[in-house]
Symmetry: C2
Subunit: 683 residues, 2 copies
């Protein structure tokens, strides 16, 4: 009915190359993980079975050697951080539990040793960790403090007599909580605690602490509790850790950013304790980077399943009396799935930008403060929005598949349940967006550099940015939009990329300027009133951060869209990408259309064209939906969803064949409705 | 920081009486179900354990006698349909699995026998069903057809020689699917099949079919498959049923609306087969009514848990250097939870309106076509929006509780997983809203009465409404809004109830008129073009239906708000309700603010006041958040969430006490930050 009659001729492999990006070969290698017999966990099972199965996958990854890739060359690695992460993200296709448990083992536990430890510590623990031989935990979060890491309650007091640190959980709220690998498998943990030596509290540092003996019993003084069942990620053995005067040698302090001499003297290459803390935390950004990418992988899987089913499943007859309409031909079905498909393309391509930032900083190519801050801001903003988007995508896909979508064998509910916690761990999304918002304000005006938004200053660090991250500037935005919007605005014009970018960037500019103007009095107010004023603008700050991240993602997609500009053989792929960009851009604009009109950026008449333009783009893209999901590069071994592999079409063929035969029978019953119509006509 | 310093003095029991409504005593009796030792299933367990536990709850309900309440008095009932449903909905507090499995047993299986069967059939099966002795299934949905019931593939061919029906599943897609009670416990099923006798297909009818022998084996010719694991509702044993020439006596046809004489002659009190079909389906509206109410119960539980935790949990310091800020004092936390709280109030109160319609029709007080159609439209629209809202509420609550929200012991993820399928069963929400939209069009102009929107005509029936359901009319809406909106619009004016109602109703009016104007050419177009035109307006049709349902719910809340107008002792409760209504109304308006501006209903300047007014309302309501959730009437036995019962506050007290003692010690370490500040100052 409503799909384009003549879809574009799109080669999915061309789009796949674009989506898989600079680290395509690593990413595709990561996808072969599902072929290993130990990596795909059973779809059901009790907690122990799920955990053991996931552990086998973690070990298989370690044995493959791929987990060494991000190590420096002197340790046998390739200093390839982005390639490593790209491959690792694809472990979501095996199972999100495997991604997270492996992330704990190799990214967080191993990563903390790598980035916070010294050469001797690397020699002792890093290779065994990255080979999956030394299983470990990343014990940062506590019951009482998640987002506010600086306020952790665990203490590590140096005892110069014994040359040991004494690690203590002084009260229940200081118990380490939700710690992956803690409930069952971890032998050691990197424990974050307040380092106290010679009567001074030097703030949070990381310590290597054995937590289990060789035979799996808790070490003396270590209490371990099992978090039990969770809303998802059943393969990850989360638990709680508490320490009762647990002693570790002085050399167990991971001392890259803060060391203690045998006599208890503290030293650090970074003088400011605040800056030191944020530098330490900054080395752990890889977790957020990979969650951004993992969320994209999950969204791709969901869309791949739902689109394939939507192209086969039929319900209700339309123009034809007997042939039922394919779901994907319904406008509403297109409206449900196509904008999410476009968004997933945008998120995938924006993730490439993040990976490039990540590689620049971590390879040492450019680890300036500015590059690190850009990376941290992108990671925070992209992770926050991509993980929320993934939940929306998976839920919409599940609903678009009806009852079949609810069956575990079709994977959508399981993926969604597993992805759920991605929005609040490795940085709660709401807190991360405040961090982005604070960064925007700091770039807007120096006076906001050290603003404390709900404690967020602690999170983002105190150093000032050298240059403005956000450069588009406020000047003349109103006039520029006026120039783009001529009175005879056709669909082509509402689909203008320049208009989209102007609208999206004008929104960020204006929101940030408004916020700055609202908050300016804060510096002169008494502390309590200043805090209240900041709080009264918290929602707007988060909205501004979202708007900024949307702009960055749109720009990434827009840049990628121009890839084929000069290649006439790729005209149809370029056209498909333009439709994707337009649908993404117009969907973003539609979501805040009230804002764009209220602020005079879009006239009412033009605003009315946005909805119809979206409808047309959805219909057009639906005509290539099969190609667009094929470009994700997944096969049945990744989807593993019964409904995605043609079963519905086969059943329909069987039913159609049955009815054809039945109608040919002499004794085929007459439909009472037909008789009734005749009766009524006669009567 | 941002909560009202002087909250209203609200008596939760006053609001509880309003929320629990006309059937409060039954509703509250329903809440005591959790005290029965057999009704609360274990939080984890394998499928068999969960199913057996849920079955015990179903039996306990049957033994209690409460399941007889909706029967006619001559069968020992009280003809109290709304009271029965109100009590039944509260079984969600025990577990959604129990609600659904009991709903299958008593509402669908028993309900079909009651509403479609004759007196003899009642005598034989109804009481055993309602006592939970005869366990049964409701076998309507098939693999190939869910929403489109008229197209079911199962056939029941009458054999006059044997005076039997022969029930057959002619192809795989005709297999009954997702059938509750089928996989393990059902002994019989009400099977929906195309009734064929004397060479005529009379359409879908219901048959009583034994499916298991006394010792639990499938009856000859009956194949049973287990649907296995689902995304939720693990206590419900869903399965598939297929029939290979299964014979049942002629008297097993539930023949209230269509009977077959021994010689095979068909007769029905309803001449038109279309009308007959919709009348039969209409008797089963109770399922949708109770899902609307069940969704409200689940949302209340989620908010109760998240609000209690949000009033205790602290994170980051604000104005004070050591005391951390309570989550509920953050503006963003208020913005996340308070609009959902207001929406839940609206949904609860609108559900009362639905229950009243339901009671009027089913008690026989008014079972006119008009009353039935109003009931069906309300049930469709309210169920669709309430179940989606419940998912949003539970997800937001889970995220607002951070990692703790993800733990199974805190119940939010489990409730959400269970509620997930509510949005696509008993009428897929998208289909239900089309049904509402079609009804709106039909009321707008007679020519749309029989419009076929994506097959939806089949769903809603073909009979024309006697009177317009939707009466507000288009005349002068523009001018009226102009009158309300004087230039000096203060917050009080943006909070005007009259303005809210005008905006919400003008939106429905205009959308329906636009749709009608878009669709008018359809009747003159060739069939294929007409279908395409309808499809091009499907999204707008659904949006109009949503806008209409929002208006109805707002009106219900608005009416309830006036309950205390004349009672000066209830001034604060009245004020709280007004805030709730305003927050609900303004949130609805904000969600479509672009529309209201685009169509000239709201000036840009006034539109800009909506956001700030919402912020202020959120802050005010947060000051009474504890009262507002207390009014839901749930105790720890219903919430059963560790974080909702004060554990966080106790841990904080312990931590605070620890720090107080520690600071008093002579050897309490100095904070390096303090030393650094002093150093920097000196330097």
């Amino acid at each position: 009915m409503n799909r384009t009659k003549t879809p574009l001729t799109v080669d999915p492999s061309v789009l796949a190359d674009l989506l898989d990006g600079r680290w395509a070969s690593e990413r595709r290698r990561g996808r072969t993980l599902v072929e290993h017999p130990d990596t795909v966990p059973p779809i059901t099972g009790d907690l122990d079975e799920m955990r053991e199965a996931t552990l086998r996958g973690v070990r298989a990854l370690g044995e493959s050697g791929s987990t060494l890739r991000s190590l420096p060359t002197e340790l046998g690695g390739e200093n390839d951080h982005a390639g490593y992460v790209a491959a690792f993200e694809e472990s979501v296709t095996a199972s999100p539990s495997l991604q997270i448990k492996a992330g704990v083992q190799y990214g967080l536990f191993g990563g903390a040793i790598q980035h916070l430890g010294n050469a001797e510590q690397h020699a002792q623990w890093l290779l065994p960790a990255q080979r999956g031989e030394l299983l470990g935990c990343f014990a940062m979060t506590e019951i009482g403090h998640g987002s506010d890491v600086a306020s952790l309650g665990t203490i590590a007091v140096y005892d110069p007599a014994a040359e040991e640190f004494v690690i203590t959980t002084p009260f229940r709220a200081a118990t380490k909580e939700y710690i992956g690998n803690a409930a069952a498998h971890g032998r050691a943990a990197v424990v974050f605690a307040q380092l106290i030596t010679a009567g001074v509290d030097h703030g949070v540092h990381a310590f290597f602490v054995p937590i289990r003996t060789e035979d799996g019993e808790p070490m003396p003084g270590v209490s371990i509790e099992d978090d039990g069942r969770k809303g998802g990620l059943l393969g990850v053995d989360n638990g709680r850790l508490a320490f009762a005067d647990v002693r570790v040698p002085r050399t167990h302090l991971l001392d890259r950013y803060g060391a203690v001499a045998p006599d208890g003297t503290y030293s650090s290459p970074i003088d400011s304790p605040g800056r030191r803390f944020f530098t330490m935390l900054g080395t752990l950004v890889q977790g957020r980077v990979s969650l951004d990418g993992a969320a994209v992988v999950a969204a791709k899987l969901g869309l791949d399943i739902a689109v394939r089913y939507g192209l086969e499943r039929r319900q209700f007859t339309g123009a034809d009396d007997t042939e039922e309409v394919v779901l994907m031909d319904y406008q509403q079905h297109q409206r449900r799935l196509m904008p999410l498909l476009a968004e997933t393309y945008a998120n995938a391509i924006a993730h490439e930008v993040l990976l490039a930032s990540f590689q620049r900083v971590f390879s040492g190519e450019d680890d300036s403060d500015e590059a690190r801050q850009l990376l941290e801001t992108q990671a925070a903003g992209f992770k926050a929005t991509s993980t929320w988007d993934a939940l929306d995508v998976l839920q919409e896909c599940r609903e678009a598949c009806g009852g079949a979508g609810f069956m575990t064998e079709n994977r959508l509910t399981g993926l969604r349940a597993d992805l759920d916690v991605y929005v609040t761990f490795e940085g709660d999304n709401t807190v991360l967006l405040q961090l982005v918002g604070k960064r925007l304000l700091g770039d807007y005006a120096a006076e906001f550099k050290n603003i404390d938004v709900g404690g967020v200053a602690r999170f983002i660090g105190t150093q000032a940015a050298e240059h403005s991250l956000y450069r588009s500037g406020l000047a003349n935005v109103g006039r520029t939009i006026g120039e783009v919007l001529t009175p005879g605005l056709t669909e082509r014009r509402i689909r203008s990329g320049r208009l989209q970018e102007l609208l999206l960037s004008a929104r960020v500019d204006t929101m940030v300027a408004e916020l700055a103007s609202n908050l300016r009095p804060a510096s002169k107010l008494p502390k309590e009133e200043a805090a209240a004023l900041l709080n009264e603008n918290q929602h707007e700050l988060i909205e501004a951060a979202k708007a900024y991240v949307e702009l960055l993602k749109w720009q990434a997609l827009n840049t990628a869209m121009h890839t084929f500009d000069d290649d006439p053989r790729r005209a149809d792929e370029a056209k498909a990408l333009r439709r994707i960009r337009d649908l993404y851009g117009l969907t973003l604009i539609e979501r805040s259309i009230g804002w764009h009109i209220m602020y005079g950026r879009l006239s009412m008449n033009r605003a009315r064209q946005v909805g119809p333009a979206i409808n047309r783009l959805c219909a057009k893209l639906a005509g290539n939906a099969a190609d667009l999901v094929a470009a994700f590069g997944y096969g049945p071994e990744h989807r593993r969803a019964t409904i995605a592999e043609g079963v519905e079409a086969r059943r329909q063929t069987e039913a159609r064949e049955h009815y054809r035969r039945a109608r040919a029978q002499a004794d085929h019953p007459v439909d009472e409705k037909v008789l009734h119509r005749e009766r009524t006509r006669k009567g």
